[in-house]
Symmetry: C2
Subunit: 158 residues, 2 copies
DNA sequence: CCACTTTCGTTCGCATTTCAACTTCTTAGG
DNA sequence: CCTAAGAAGTTGAAATGCGAACGAAAGTGG
């Protein structure tokens, strides 16, 4: 009885596309991180600031923030401690659920966002958005959407 | 005198595409890493094995490997030490440049590759390649190519 | 009201990554 | 030849990251 199925290796085109994708991701991460360094922020810091600044009251529950930023609770906890020490955010108790905590953006954190955001956007443009046509960007988006959906549905499965 | 140029924020389409791209990268990395775990390998391990197995003599200079895998020398050095302890690779002196070292794939390492590669390819297919049409994949590739070129040219600049 | 299970967030132990020396060897200039 | 500059790798300590175990607080079913 045949249990082994012949491996469907990637075709040249597939392999090439795949490798480019991986390569772009790594180099892009590297560059964006690099461009944020002068401001003393990492992408992780920045991402958290963005999420917080986009809520009405500039606060988010730890769990939600962990989910939104795709990191473990443990990692987020450490991360928030660091950002708290840096004065960017502070923790605040949640009245309705006394197990819970809010991460709240401080005025300093908001100020940092206002200062850094333009540079980050410029960085994203310089290394990504402005390098391709709107049509290509759209094609990229369309291609990635089903993948994003699939991956979201996979999160935290066996 | 005006030194500030008004920030060109991302349009909705740009922002959406950008965020999807970032999100896909993070989730994809997570999934691939996850799928490799049962074999006791990380993506980093695997990537190194791939590079080595693709050279004729299954060996590469540390520096070249560091460049190829986009990591610092220090990181690679630690990484290779771990892989050496796991029996996947070994270090070998370089005769032409006595500062230099080769990382050489062991038979064990090669065997591991043969065993793991099919699963990894399946993983790449399941979470990426097979989720979109060849046309979309091609569009993706075409869109990413200029970005990859730009980023390569930026590596290690001021 | 009382167990039982689940959720929230932190902490601990351990692995990985970074950063800044440091050693050894090569190369270039005089 | 000799010295200074640079390149190849390593090292150790500090920062960061992850999974498991944990305590506290909610929710749930009898």
């Amino acid at each position: 009885m045949e249990t082994e199925t012949a491996t469907r290796w990637l075709t040249d085109e597939e392999q090439c596309a795949w490798r480019t994708h991986v390569e772009v991701n790594r180099m892009l991460t590297y560059q964006l991180e690099r461009d944020l360094q002068p401001f003393g922020l990492t992408m992780n810091d920045y991402d958290i600031l963005v999420h917080l600044s986009e809520t009405d009251d500039h606060r988010m529950r730890m769990s939600d923030l962990a989910t939104a930023t795709l990191q473990s609770k443990s990692r987020l906890s450490h991360q928030i401690t660091r950002m708290e020490n840096a004065g960017l955010v502070r923790r605040e108790n949640c009245e309705s659920d006394r197990r819970g905590l809010y991460t709240v953006l401080t005025e300093d954190g908001m100020e940092t966002m206002r200062k850094v955001a333009p540079h980050h956007v410029a960085s994203v443009r310089r290394h990504f958005v402005d390098l391709i046509s709107p049509e290509e960007l759209d094609a990229l988006h369309k291609a990635l959407t089903p993948i994003a959906e699939h991956l979201r549905s996979q999160r935290g499965k066996p």
